[in-house]
């Protein structure tokens, strides 16, 4: 591997979170501060050790506000990543880049929101069309017609996908069933103890046909924080480090936010960009993954991701996910924490935490012999991904 690599230059040392709920009863800033403290305590660092903070462009709590609340000292690095849930792994990439280059030593990535009790993403995001910028202008060609919710934008792609590859709603349902099965045994999951059957998936009401309610992730309140430092420093801390073997972002030609409808193929090539870069950086491939955490805001995107990431050929995901293949004990268990359909929707950050737990061997649903975990961020938007290794 050449000198110019990020692979192995940074590690996740600590993870932290609040409880996941439908009404946190406290402010978003407080949630983020609690998660940051929890993550620092997890690895045995203090707020004084932190010299960098990264969050989502969409987050309502600024880096300086979090630093103030927690009595942090000087910050040498702060950054934000755009495009909704596509930012999740990108925040860790930012932290890794800072740590690998010595720009900062301990960077905490955080995301906290009252996304159920406050501004619900499943509703029409009027602000997204009202923003006076290029995204607002892009949305002028969708929102006024009524195409203005995440589920609807995905349904447009899902319908085409079904048409082209012969997938049916129940194929998407396999993702929901797997997620809820894993959530059922995860005490932190909102749907702990509540598995579903494919029949329940099929019977759930239509939100944006062909998407049923159970194709859509939850809306949640909560926060997650991730502590990134050098592998050397991480090795001296309380937890087994999760080495960042690869960290990538991706955007494809003619990219839009959730409405990349003007390309020949209206799939999600941006996650293919991420995948190719992850495999290149890490020198690994799909066959090296004992499991994966694939961003699951909407079930059809999980099938499309399996294809874009090279786990199966184009149009083959409907067969790949059959017969429990993506459930614990299957060929490629996905989202062993329950995913965002089962555990909580914390914009993908809870999925990164699960990847770390699998590397540590502390997941409630451990996959045997995990050496590497692939984690992806929100799809349909410019996105990102990570490979975490022992």
């Amino acid at each position: 591997m050449s000198e110019r690599t990020l692979s192995g230059k940074a590690a996740i040392a600590g993870i932290g979170a609040t409880e996941f709920s439908k009404a946190s009863g406290r402010t978003e800033l407080q949630l983020s501060c609690e998660a940051v403290l929890d993550a620092l305590a997890d690895c045995g660092l203090s707020t004084k050790d932190v010299d960098g903070l990264v969050t989502f462009t969409m987050d309502n709590s600024s880096e300086i506000a979090v630093a103030r609340e927690l009595g942090m000292g000087d910050l040498r690095f702060f950054s934000r990543i755009n495009y909704g849930g596509g930012a999740a792994c990108g925040t860790v990439q930012q932290a890794a880049l800072a740590v690998a280059t010595g720009v900062a030593d301990v960077v905490v990535c955080y995301r906290g929101f009252n996304e159920r009790s406050g501004d619900r993403f499943g509703q029409v995001s009027q602000w997204a069309a009202a923003q006076v910028n290029t995204n607002g202008l892009d949305n002028a060609f969708t929102y006024p017609y009524g195409l203005s919710t995440p589920a609807a934008t995905v349904a447009m792609q899902a319908q085409r996908y079904m048409h082209e590859y012969g997938a049916v709603s129940a194929d998407f349902g396999a993702v929901a069933v797997a997620d809820r099965k894993h959530a059922a045994t995860n005490p932190k999951a909102f749907f702990h103890g509540k598995p579903i059957t494919i029949e329940e998936h099929q019977a759930s009401r239509m939100i944006a046909a062909p998407l049923h309610l159970l194709d859509c992730c939850q809306e949640s309140d909560g926060a997650v924080a991730i502590v990134v430092t050098t592998p050397e420093r991480a090795a001296d801390l309380k937890q087994k480090p999760a080495i960042i073997a690869a960290a990538a972002q991706g955007s494809a030609p003619d990219q839009y936010v959730m409405t990349s409808y003007y390309r020949d193929d209206i799939g999600i090539p941006e996650i293919g960009v991420v995948g190719r870069e992850l495999w290149r950086q890490s020198g690994l491939g799909p066959a090296d993954m004992a499991m994966a955490v694939l961003y699951d805001h909407f079930t059809p995107y999980v099938l499309m991701q399996l294809e874009e990431l090279g786990f199966c050929g184009r149009g083959e995901a409907k067969d790949f996910v059959k017969d429990g293949a993506i459930e614990l004990g299957g060929r490629l268990p996905l989202n062993t924490h329950g995913g965002q359909l089962g555990e909580a929707y914390i914009h993908g950050m809870n999925g990164i935490a699960e990847g770390v737990r699998q590397i540590r061997g502390t997941s409630v649903n451990p996959v045997p012999d995990v050496q590497n975990v692939l984690v992806t961020a929100g799809t349909g938007v410019p996105t990102s991904g990570l490979i975490l290794s022992v």
């Binding site: 923003q131 060609f141 609807a152 085409r160």
Partner: protein, 301 residues
């Protein structure tokens, strides 16, 4: 239950009970197929096919043999009738036949005695229609001679509240489009009933959505062409939830592939029943108010 107490879920639960009953017991026609009734029918309809005066019954009479006649008590057990009672109680008192799809497996002859079995197939709604809000009820009917099926009929009615329409939404409350000098020409076009597509004056490339610089040749010299307004459905969805400002749900939203080779998002009006990927569509401009006209779409029959 009184009218006010019936919710959609109540209706559908009662419907499910009837569906669960499956096909009704075969009910024999009052009379065997007979020439005098055929003759009455031929005279009224004006049918002159000689076969029908020599023992063969007109296929169009399939249903006539098992009509209930004047005694309404006889039909209480029929699935369609029981379903109608539910809707009557729920306040959907009017009925309108919408579809009748008959298949005749073989001709029937004078002397044969047909039976009718029926089952409730589906109930879809509530749907706002031109006559009022209601539900489409479809039954499947089978006529047999002995065990042999001789004819079938899929029959759909609309059970509705006359004139009862959902409160009209204020469509001016929809999400307004941002515009700037790069995109204004599009909206100026819709106001005039023109579907304008950006064209690069330098290299001729067409583009939608628009922008200031041609991605192909980087010229900032742009104009537009007026599209034919014809296209096909590339993909679509039916939006049921959540509520959308200025829209009456459900609505059908589609990605239209224009004849000119570009794609555009829009609502397909009344598309829910008739749309499919590949359906031909035609633009239909919808004036929202003096400031905004949307390019919407209608399926071409």
């Amino acid at each position: 239950m009184s009218t006010a107490e019936w919710t959609h879920d109540d209706i559908m639960a009662a419907v499910e009970e009837i569906k669960a009953l499956g096909e009704s017991e075969p009910k024999p026609a009052r009379d065997p197929i007979n020439q005098p009734m055929i003759n009455n029918w031929l005279e009224a309809i004006g049918e002159t096919d000689p076969r029908y005066t020599s023992g063969e019954a007109p296929p169009a009479m399939a249903q006539v043999w098992t009509m209930d006649g004047l005694d309404h008590t006889k039909r209480a057990a029929a699935p369609l009738h029981r379903t109608m009672q539910i809707f009557d109680e729920a306040g959907f008192k009017s009925v309108l036949g919408t579809n009748c799809d008959q298949v005749y497996l073989r001709p029937v002859e004078v002397g044969e005695h047909v039976t009718l079995s029926a089952r409730l197939d589906s109930v879809v709604g509530p749907k706002v229609t031109g006559v009022g809000e209601g539900y489409f009820v479809t039954t499947e009917n089978t006529w047999r001679v002995g065990d042999e099926v001789v004819a079938t009929m899929s029959f759909r009615v609309l059970k509705f509240k006359p004139g009862a329409r959902k409160p009209a939404v204020d469509k001016t409350r929809l999400v307004r489009p941002q515009m700037n000098q790069d995109t204004a020409y599009f909206w100026e076009g819709t106001a005039l009933g023109e579907l304008r597509i950006q064209k690069c004056n330098a290299c001729g490339e067409l583009r939608h959505p628009p922008g200031p610089m041609c991605p192909t040749c980087h010229a900032a010299d742009r104009g537009y062409v007026v599209a034919s307004g014809k296209g096909t459905v590339f993909s679509f969805l039916v939006h049921h939830a959540p509520q959308l400002p200025g829209k009456e749900l459900p609505i059908t939203l589609a990605l239209i592939e224009l004849e000119e080779g570009l794609r555009m998002v829009g609502e397909v009006q009344g598309g829910r029943e008739s749309i499919a990927i590949g359906s031909p569509v035609q633009v239909a401009f919808e004036k929202i108010d003096d400031d905004l006209t949307l390019a919407q779409w209608a399926v071409v029959e």
